[in-house]
């Protein structure tokens, strides 16, 4: 039998070590991909339904429970959407500290993904434990950065897992000056480590895998968009959050309990690489110079640059947190009073894994009538399937089964998907006919 006639069926019945339940089906017939489905069969979590009837003051703590890794994204997105509806100006202190809080989440989430999930792939390791044998200093550095991100989240959220610091109108409490001085010292000390991380990430060889895709991310007039900005796409779209439904659609596919999102009927990319593709001109000059030094040219059409993109955003988040905490003063109050009003609130921010969009219909007493939350992973689902198809063709369908399986895993891990938020590892059974 020639390679063109070979048929291969690769079924991943359960994506192991995932937060959530999913599977991958891949069938190759006569040298072509006849079936490729990322199946998400985890039961729906009904979070949006749970929110109905609840008072606005409960929403930040409730939505924080959606994800153990990126709770800040859910809290801040909800808070900002409702504050806009309630016509509340939380003031410069709370606005700045929300961005710092968010930086903490980017630092911890990206550090964790790079060192515990993605990097082992590129060194032929099956886990971070194996990677630690080859690159102990780099893994230690990654864990230190992750811990620093967690500490920043602790500072504003009282804890890093499901933090409770955000309230509608600002924060429940303000960190003290000694606390801020201490974290500033740590952030400053971590800058050289983050720069070294970028250089290390830039030195890791990646497969040549150029693909055409649309990047979608927030864009801000001056800053690298994290917690504020308009929704932008690489084809020139620039809209506010309330216009999302005019351009983006969610649809149900029978093989997935997570909704698939499309932009003008096409898959699209959200996440660190999409952000860098759209906003690299908003990076500080020092980081742009470092990227030039590493040879990282943007925009990139290779999703294997995602690890490096996360490293770049760690450095950016450290610099941003330091900038915003310089000259820190205690506010008269960390929050402002809020008067609820009926209407529709929409908002979006950049979660570590990409654009996160919320919509709440509220009644006059400040209770949720209905809610809709579009997380990054559901937006990336279609792109992951498209990427797997193109990437496997680039890789070569005649590769051995183990190589095909590992390649699929690496492609999926580029997105750091969370099914309830994440798919991180594939255990595959391979059949050949």
């Amino acid at each position: 039998m020639t390679e063109k006639q070979r048929s291969v069926a690769i079924h991943v019945p359960v994506l192991a070590r995932v937060e959530g339940e999913g599977a991958l089906d891949l069938r190759i017939e006569n040298g072509d991909i006849s079936q490729l489905r990322l199946r998400i069969f985890e039961p729906p979590r009904f979070f949006e339904k749970f929110l109905e009837g609840h008072h606005y003051s409960e929403i930040p703590d409730m939505v924080a429970r959606i994800c153990g890794i990126c709770p800040v994204a859910y809290q801040v997105t909800a808070a900002q959407a409702l504050e806009q509806l309630f016509d509340v100006d939380i003031g410069p202190w709370a606005r700045g500290m929300r961005r710092v809080f968010y930086c903490g989440e980017w630092i911890q989430s990206h550090s964790l993904h790079i060192h515990l999930l993605a990097a082992p792939d590129f060194f032929g390791c099956g886990s971070a434990i194996e990677l630690a044998r080859l690159a102990p200093d780099e893994v230690r550095r990654g864990l230190r950065l992750q811990a620093l991100g967690n500490e920043l989240m602790d500072l504003f959220g009282a804890r890093s897992v499901h933090p409770v610091g955000v309230r509608i109108g600002g924060f429940h409490a303000a960190p003290s000056l000694p606390q801020i001085r201490a974290i500033r010292d740590k952030l400053r000390a971590a800058l050289p480590e983050a720069e070294a991380l970028v250089r290390w990430a830039g030195s890791i060889p990646i497969p040549p895998d150029e693909q055409a895709f649309i990047s979608v991310a927030l864009r801000h007039p001056a800053d690298y968009a994290i917690e504020t900005g308009a929704i932008a796409a690489s084809d020139g779209l620039l809209i506010e959050a309330d216009a999302y439904d005019a351009h983006f659609a969610e649809q149900h596919e029978t093989h997935s309990t997570a909704l698939f999102s499309t932009y003008h009927q096409r898959p699209y990319l959200v996440g660190p690489l999409a952000r860098l593709n759209l906003n690299h001109d908003r990076l500080p000059a020092g980081i742009q110079a470092l990227l030039a030094e590493t040879g990282f040219s943007l925009p990139s059409r290779n999703l294997f640059h995602s690890l490096l993109a996360r490293a770049v955003e760690i450095l950016l988040a450290l610099q941003e947190a330091l900038r915003l905490l310089d000259g820190y003063t205690l506010p008269d109050s960390p929050w402002v009073p809020v008067t609820p009003r009926a209407g529709v609130a929409t908002g979006c921010t950049e979660a570590p894994r990409g654009l996160l969009w919320h919509r709440y219909e509220m009644d006059g007493e400040g209770r949720v009538v209905n809610a809709r939350i579009v997380p990054p992973t559901s937006q990336n689902q279609g792109r992951i399937e498209e990427d797997l198809r193109l990437s496997l063709l680039n890789f070569g369908l005649d590769q051995p089964d183990d190589a095909l399986r590992l390649h699929c895993e690496k492609v999926i891990r580029n997105y750091d998907p969370c099914i309830s938020c994440a798919t991180h590892f594939l255990r595959m059974n391979v059949e050949r006919t």
Binding site: V18, E19, L117, P136, R140, Q146
Partner: protein, 150 residues
């Protein structure tokens, strides 16, 4: 200076509070954080557990286990019993043993590590802890107090 760090790991889910209850029982027995002993509850620390091992000459770590034992059974795990961990890791599923094995690779384990597990039953969010696990936490605290006096 010799320092002992006692870490009770858990979550607010029924019997999964076993480690926390042991810390509560130790506090009730008069074991408090001072210059030589540091005692703390941790909520699913993941890889961050490694940082909690820093600088201690001895770490006593208590977590819930679910195996084939009877509920409330106390086990002590030697390093040689740690199961092999050869698969990939998830950010969400990075558990205590994975963190300890990573710490071992990085040379970050303390000179002495006492790892205790309390066999648990249901770990439902918001549920109370069962009587067997509450009693086990008391027993384990007494064992730890004795070991501190050695």
């Amino acid at each position: 200076m010799s320092t002992v760090r006692i870490l009770g790991i858990g979550s607010p889910s029924g019997d999964d509070q076993a480690g926390w209850l042991t810390v509560d029982a130790l506090l009730a027995d008069g074991v408090h954080t001072d210059g030589k002993i540091f005692i703390e509850k941790l909520d699913r620390p993941g890889a961050n557990l490694i940082h909690h091992l820093d600088g201690a000459s001895r770490v006593i770590l208590i977590d819930a286990t679910q195996g084939n034992g009877r509920i409330g059974e106390i086990q002590r795990f030697d390093q040689k019993d740690w199961p092999g961990y050869s698969h990939g890791l998830s950010s969400h599923g990075f558990g205590v043993l994975a963190a300890l094995m990573l710490a071992r690779e990085l040379g970050s384990l303390p000179p002495r590590l006492d790892l205790y597990g309390i066999e648990i039953g249901a770990a439902l969010p918001g549920a109370d802890t069962g009587h067997e696990v509450q009693a086990a936490a008391q027993r384990l605290a007494a064992m730890i107090v004795s070991s501190l006096e050695e």
